[in-house]
Amino acid sequence: MSIKTEDVINIAHLARLAIADENVEGYTSDLSNIMGLVEQMQQTDTKGVEPMAHPLDQVQRLRVDEVLEQDKRELYQSIAPEVEDGLFLVPRVID
């Protein structure tokens, strides 16, 4: 099992990570080594074993649908990179 450079470029895009061209080779080798470690799992037969999502097999707790949070928009936006009129600003998406 080996990860190829085009895999790295694709994964980086999926994860929205800009990586420098000169680092692609390094990531390819690191990720291949890590996946080599991961592949050791395949030695074990897990047929019929139920996947474990929570150590104590707890399920998601439900709660009453009521408003508990106060409006803290101004506080939250005070640490945002760019805001205007209570909105978060990003580069223009629709021309």
């Binding site: 994860a15 991961v38 998601q60």
Partner: protein
């Protein structure tokens, strides 16, 4: 005073031999004088600490003090602290002043503790050496050419150097226990779901758990009890009453059975480490414990399964860092995709990017069954092994780490060799069990830790065994050279 237990400090505070303000100044002064060569604290809370200490002194004067009132501590910088920078060791959050506090922080504030500052850590808790921090590596106080372990390396180094009486940590694959071992201190990670994860910046949500880094098991019991408890704000928090974690500390361990998993004592275990753990097990035996050989047949698959589950969950959790609402944003993005990609590419360090990419890969279309589902199945096999083992024994003992602290830079070019330094600790996280590390001696003047693993909710029993061990040994009282004066 730097080596006083929490109980001793609380007695001095309540007898008015010292005020919380004086105690706080004392430890702030130690940090200012002694942390230069360690880099264990990345944000000092000087003014906030002084205010909290004044308030604690009022509570003490009114006669309403609890055991933790006025006790200074350090928080790992993964816990959100309202009004104070919470960086998680990352450039991504270098400018993040948290608008709210983690439940753990709230609880410890309510208990009257005084937060001195925030400790250094591997970026987003991803690392085993504290070398991935944006704020630079932490040096091990026993030998500054060595790493302190990670990811809670700052908390471990600070407690070892007695820069604070106690500190918080978090443990996703060994991040409390391994640095505790490397720095010669005590650390406990409780059962998954006992300590609220609200406001604890998420790395791998099904594994992350907060805990304590302390000088002794007795201190750990006191602080952990103040941290645990049901929290409606954390969807994985367990609804169960809080146990009295100090109640069993003085119980005899006569007749207690200690299991030694043969897989953790394999022939390739460093003989010097093995000798120290054997000696520690002998101490338990002399105190009346019964030693049994056991087997955890699937434990060898812990590291491979972990490096699917943890990166997969990390890639999902860290998708929130997008440069839009808070945290780092790149300069002059040309469009939205460029904003996302460069903010994340520039804001995250190399190890975090590697893990996000592994996570994105194992979760990508067509690979789910081969990796994530397989890892979750292996996880159940590992847990089942522990459940079987706990039918025969009360606790499990092993070395905490396969080596003593390694040199700064020794493993940074080889992620897989770094990952394998958590080979004995990761299974506990996959199973969601409580685990501890207690200092059990030195190899070439470097601390060695013994790991103790308990069944679910057996924190009090673990702390009992650790405390009884610490009544017979003095490893936990040792202070590194250069830090053992007032």
């Amino acid at each position: 005073m730097y080596n006083d237990s929490i109980k001793e400090l609380a007695a001095k505070l309540q007898a008015k031999q010292i005020s919380s303000v004086e105690l706080t100044d004392y430890f702030l002064d130690r940090i200012n004088r002694l942390d230069g060569g360690l880099n264990s604290v990345i944000t000092l809370n000087t003014e906030g600490a002084k205010k909290a200490a004044v308030n604690a002194d009022k509570i003490i004067a009114a006669g309403d003090a609890g055991i933790l009132t006025g006790i200074p501590l350090l928080q790992k910088d993964i816990f959100c602290t309202e009004g104070l920078r919470t960086s998680c060791g990352s450039k991504m959050l270098d400018n993040f002043i948290s608008p709210y506090s983690a439940t753990v922080v709230e609880k410890l504030n309510q208990a009257g503790t005084v937060m001195l500052g925030k400790t250094n850590m591997d970026e987003f808790a991803m690392g085993s050496s504290n070398e991935t921090s944006f704020y630079g590596s932490v040096q091990n106080p026993w030998d500054t050419s060595l790493v302190p372990g990670g990811s809670s390396g700052g908390s471990a180094a600070a407690v070892a150097a007695r820069l604070a009486p106690i500190a918080s940590g978090t443990d996703t694959g060994g991040s409390i226990r391994q640095p505790a071992a490397f720095c010669g201190i005590t650390g406990i990670k409780p059962t998954y779901g006992l300590v609220s994860r609200y406001g604890m910046i998420a790395f791998a949500s099904s594994l992350d758990q907060g805990g304590v880094m302390s000088k002794s098991a007795e201190d750990a019991a006191i602080m952990l009890e103040a941290m645990v408890g049901f929290d409606p704000k954390d969807s994985t928090s367990l609804e169960r009453p809080v146990d009295d974690l100090s109640a069993d500390l003085n119980k005899s361990i006569k007749g207690l059975t200690v299991g030694l998993p043969k897989e953790f004592f394999a022939d390739d275990l460093d003989p010097a480490i093995r000798a120290k753990v054997d000696e520690a097990v002998d101490v338990l035996k002399s105190a009346g414990a019964i030693i049994k050989q056991i087997s955890l047949p699937n434990i060898g698959l812990s590291v491979p399964a972990y490096y699917v589950v943890a990166p997969a969950e990390c890639s999902a959790n860290l998708s929130r860092f997008d440069g839009v609402r808070y945290g780092y944003r790149c300069d002059s993005p040309k469009d939205l995709e460029d904003l996302y990609k460069r903010s994340r590419g520039e804001g995250f360090g190399e190890e975090v990017k590697r893990r996000i990419m592994i996570g994105a890969y194992v979760l990508s279309a067509g690979y789910y069954d081969a990796y994530y589902k397989k890892a979750q199945q292996v996880r159940r096999l590992i847990r089942n092994d522990f459940i079987e083992a706990f039918k025969e024994v009360d606790i499990i003992a092993s070395a905490t780490a396969p080596s003593v602290a390694f040199g700064v830079g020794a493993k940074t070019d080889d992620p897989v060799s770094m990952y394998l330094s958590d080979i004995f600790t990761i299974g506990v996280n996959l199973a969601g069990l409580p685990g501890m590390s207690v200092p059990c001696g030195f190899v070439d003047d470097k601390p060695v830790g013994m790991q103790l693993i308990g069944n679910y909710f057996n924190e009090a029993k673990l702390l009992n065994v650790a405390h009884q061990y610490q009544q017979q040994t003095d490893w936990h009282t040792r202070v590194p050279t250069g830090f053992g004066q007032e």
